[in-house]
Symmetry: C2
Subunit: 367 residues, 2 copies
């Protein structure tokens, strides 16, 4: 089994500096996980991830179940063998993607029927199948099958869904057979403090390896989201990793770290890179802008990533406008480097008891 | 100025092992130049090129003239500064691309009027403008402005065009101002031995730094193309580099090396990679084929490229079918590695006086 150690507490905030030890190496926390939907972080390869210092990578169960099929991945050694990457992986449960297919799905107590976005073929995900698929994929951390409740939603629907997610979590625990994978439960409850408290109490009673807050960043306002995280984080056991799924903006990650969250994943740095939006130490820029046409400076003069070490804004803008495929990788490397550097600085700030000042200074810079 | 040394002669064939020394480093010959149309080899960055051992890279004058504009490239230090690559470049004259715009161009003695493929704007390329643009781009080797005669073409048209290309070559020589760039002339003449002899005699009389055979691989049969190269190569001075533009298949390159050709460029390894067609030591494969669905072997077990060192056919096929952008780079790295390895083996074979055997063995393997 896996180990989670708290190495330091910030003190002034609830931020924690920790370390997750998995069968495929460690992940320093607070951790940002890039999203490798189909078993690869878009535009990058493993050597890029290694150079960036990536540890945990998230892969999507729904996508890999449909293509190439979880048995194919299993027969080639699970995600680690298939993608030839001997570092930790986390797989989601497939639930989020299935629920995103709003036109094609039907939810029952048993599970969710849906039609593939690839070929329209009919499938049904259940907690048991999610466990079976995630065991075949072989990630170090696997997630319980849950419903990500949309926002807004009727109070009664939120209650019924939250209770069902808890029953599904128990079924996942019963169905799980591999001892080398850590199962995380997911706390739901929409924006209701009462339901979040109920979900947290019921889910943490199952004594799982870690806990996530789900159903956030689904359309609610930022204050609503932060309120839920602020009151929910202390409901999760301090000695286990806490994960907010699908978040987020750099400043949102830092705020949630201040509430005691340890793990994050988000497509934002990678997806934004592909649309030309770059994070820098002085704010965002879009590389398509005409002002960069002859700009000899790197994307961020303060950045030490391989892209900034080599290429000017003018050259990257040219490659972007010429639709050169190489530029998407160069921009992705920069944005992930920005996120990973921020996480590293956050971890050091926590270790120094200076996280609040780091976060405050970061906000002033306008990220 | 630049230096070309013949280091070894094969003896049994006309193959030569040489070395071109440019202001930005050497190119061992016979040399294959990958095509970096817009100032980047599609899907790769400079570190990939360095790891592959790339020396000369070809960039397209037409594309860079239109976008970002040759003045932009010049103001950022020419191609070497703009693309941050301190290795040799060769630029074509822009002629080939302009002549490919068959619906939008008009040829006169002065030059060629054409409409941009990007925005339809009207332009005119002349020998003088081609030199001006290529001097702004700052490649180590620049090419004289020529007409790449289509095939088939009327005898009279071939004669008139070949004579005009020679007059344009003289205008290029007159217009050239930079001493650090080597100007290569281009021998035309279509499939006519008489016109090729005339063009070679007239062009080589200008005492340029090197000579190319143009107007090949334009629709003629392979025996026709090889006949032209075989009788034309000895018409070019032995002490200067000989370049066949736009070629080609691996076995075609080797055959032309046997006739004494030193330089090649072709989009085939890079373009084929992007359609999933890979070169291997036992023949070609297309990674999309179902037979590779669970194949744990690398693309070519005999290959030592970074892609083959890390990834299975099954994983690469999966990435390809999932439209993951990273796979195009991984496949491009493999195909260019195949070409560069072949060139390195050819150079060693020539140095050992064993080129014919190398070429014969290569053909048997069915490339």
């Amino acid at each position: 089994m896996q180990r989670f150690e708290i190495l330091a507490l910030d003190g002034r905030t609830a931020a924690r500096r920790g370390r997750l030890t998995t069968p495929h190496g460690v992940a320093e926390t607070p951790a940002f996980m890039p999203v490798g939907t189909a078993g690869a972080v878009k535009t990058l390869d493993n050597r890029d991830l290694d150079e960036l210092g990536a540890q945990l990578v998230l892969a999507n169960t729904y996508h890999l179940y449909l293509r190439p099929g979880h048995e194919v991945v299993r027969d080639l050694g699970g995600l680690h063998g298939f993608a030839h990457r001997d570092k930790p992986y986390l797989t989601d449960s497939g639930g989020f993607q299935v629920f995103s297919l709003s036109d094609f799905r039907k939810i029952t107590e048993e599970g969710v029927r849906f039609a593939s976005h690839i070929d329209g073929s009919r499938h049904m995900f259940t907690p048991e199948l999610s466990m079976q698929v995630q065991e075949a994929l072989g990630a170090d951390i696997i997630m319980a099958f849950d419903e990500c409740i949309p926002y807004p939603a009727e109070d009664e629907y939120v209650r019924q869904s939250t209770e069902r997610t808890w029953r599904w979590t128990r079924r996942c625990l019963d169905a799980k057979t591999r001892d080398d994978q850590a199962l995380f439960g997911i706390v739901q409850g929409g924006m209701s403090e009462e339901l979040r408290r109920w979900s947290a109490a019921q889910t943490t009673a199952l004594d799982l390896a870690g806990y996530a807050l789900g159903g956030l960043s689904v359309g609610e306002s930022k204050p609503q989201m932060m309120r839920v995280v602020a009151f929910s984080a202390p409901l999760l056991p301090a000695e286990k990793p806490r994960y907010v799924m699908g978040v987020g903006h750099p400043e949102d990650i830092l705020e949630m770290i201040s509430y005691g969250i340890d793990m994050f994943d988000c497509v934002m740095p990678t997806r934004n890179a592909r649309t030309g939006t770059l994070y820098t130490s002085t704010g965002r820029l879009n590389i398509r802008n005409a002002q960069y046409k002859t700009d000899p400076r790197p994307l961020d003069p303060a950045c030490r990533c391989p892209t900034c070490a080599q290429y000017s804004r003018a050259y990257l803008r040219h490659l972007y406008l010429a639709s050169e495929p190489s530029v998407l990788r160069l921009l992705t490397i920069h944005n992930l480097s920005f996120y990973f550097n921020m996480m590293e600085e956050a971890r050091q700030a926590i270790a120094n008891g200076a996280f609040f000042d780091y976060y405050a200074a970061f906000r002033v810079k306008g990220q």
